[in-house]
């Protein structure tokens, strides 16, 4: 790998991120459409996509808003979906922690599943990259995905109104979520956490303000962690 030209790291990041455009495009398009159907105007759709830039949390917030949950519960649910990013932040710190504050803030804004996973894999396999090379690669991964997320959200919001109800778009959100969850079920602990979440959420569906979901999520996290510990004990 030629290391003389630092610009090539931006290019490498962009190239590694490019395949994810196939996932980001329909996902952002769908967010624009569904958010518009739910009653958000163009400024609100774009405000959310540009300021938050976290698809699953945006859909979760939307779902709770449509379900008439109060603002606090909407925020609690959506932020719970994003808690995993604290783990990303912690794991990127040894690599990017020495950067100037504004670059770290910008890196934080662009911290999504794709930029994190690509960058961590790169930093671990090529440990002698300099800080500036690491930053170039990290930002490079988002150079295509980021703008695509904004543009497709915008397009979805604009065309959303034109889609007739026969297309059963109400079910686009459940399908998208299921499609995201299935590949995550890698271990018994993940399956146990997901099953707990489903069962408790259904049992407590009658609780007001979406409180049942938060209780289900907390229990499911504990079950996932518990099963992981039990499996490790069983192995050693």
């Amino acid at each position: 790998m030629p290391r003389s030209n630092p610009k090539s790291l931006v290019w490498q990041g962009a190239r590694d991120g490019a395949p994810f455009m196939l996932v980001i495009l329909p996902f952002a398009l769908l967010f624009g459409v569904v958010a518009t159907e739910a009653g958000l105007n163009l400024a609100e759709v774009m405000g959310m996509s540009v300021l938050v830039i976290a698809g699953a949390a945006q859909f979760a917030a939307l779902q709770q808003m449509v379900g008439e949950a109060p603002v606090v519960m909407v925020l609690a649910t959506a932020l719970a979906v994003n808690l995993r990013m604290a783990m990303y932040s912690a794991s990127l710190t040894p690599y990017l922690g020495a950067a100037p504050l504004w670059k770290r803030a910008f890196a934080a804004y662009l911290m999504v599943d794709q930029s994190y996973m690509l960058s961590i894999a790169k930093f671990e396999t090529e440990p002698d990259l300099s800080l500036s090379e690491k930053l170039r690669y990290y930002f490079g991964t988002m150079i295509l995905i980021g703008p695509m997320w904004y543009a497709a959200s915008f397009l979805g919001a604009v065309v959303g109104k034109a889609i007739p109800p026969e297309f059963a778009l109400d079910f686009a959100v459940p399908i998208t979520f299921l499609a995201m969850i299935a590949p995550m079920l890698r271990t018994l602990a993940h399956v146990a956490a997901a099953a707990t979440s489903v069962i408790v959420a259904l049992l407590l569906a009658g609780l007001p303000y979406g409180a049942g979901l938060l209780i289900a999520a907390a229990l499911a996290m504990a079950v996932g962690a518990g099963v992981e510990v039990a499996m490790q004990r069983g192995r050693t």
Partner: protein
């Protein structure tokens, strides 16, 4: 949705600030300090702990059918999950699930 403009923007700004603080937490504030193992373990399960519980009632009691279970939507959900488990690919699962939904809606009329 009955939320007003003020509430909607409260959600947007609250979510934006909260999400940024989560992302900035260690990189910007806490710094290079190891996380306790139990906390890492809990954080690992946040997506699988929240999303399935969110989606389950939408699958079983869809608003579009007034909350009664619907064969086309149930089958589409099962197909999405099955394809996602086998292919380990979100995009394929979405396409397969949507295809199942439209096929079943067309057959069941």
């Amino acid at each position: 949705m009955s939320m007003g403009t003020g509430e909607i923007w409260t959600v947007i700004l609250g979510l934006a600030i909260g999400t940024f603080l989560i992302r900035f937490s260690f990189l910007g504030i806490v710094g290079n300090r190891p996380l306790p193992a139990w906390l890492l373990r809990l954080l690992r399960y946040t997506p699988v702990a929240v999303l399935p519980g969110l989606v389950a009632p939408l699958v079983l009691w869809p608003a579009a059918t007034g909350g009664t279970p619907d064969a086309a939507r149930l089958l589409a959900a099962i197909a999405t999950l099955a394809i996602g488990l086998i292919a380990r690919n979100t995009l394929f699962a979405i396409i397969g699930g949507a295809a199942t939904l439209y096929t079943m809606l067309w057959i069941l009329g």
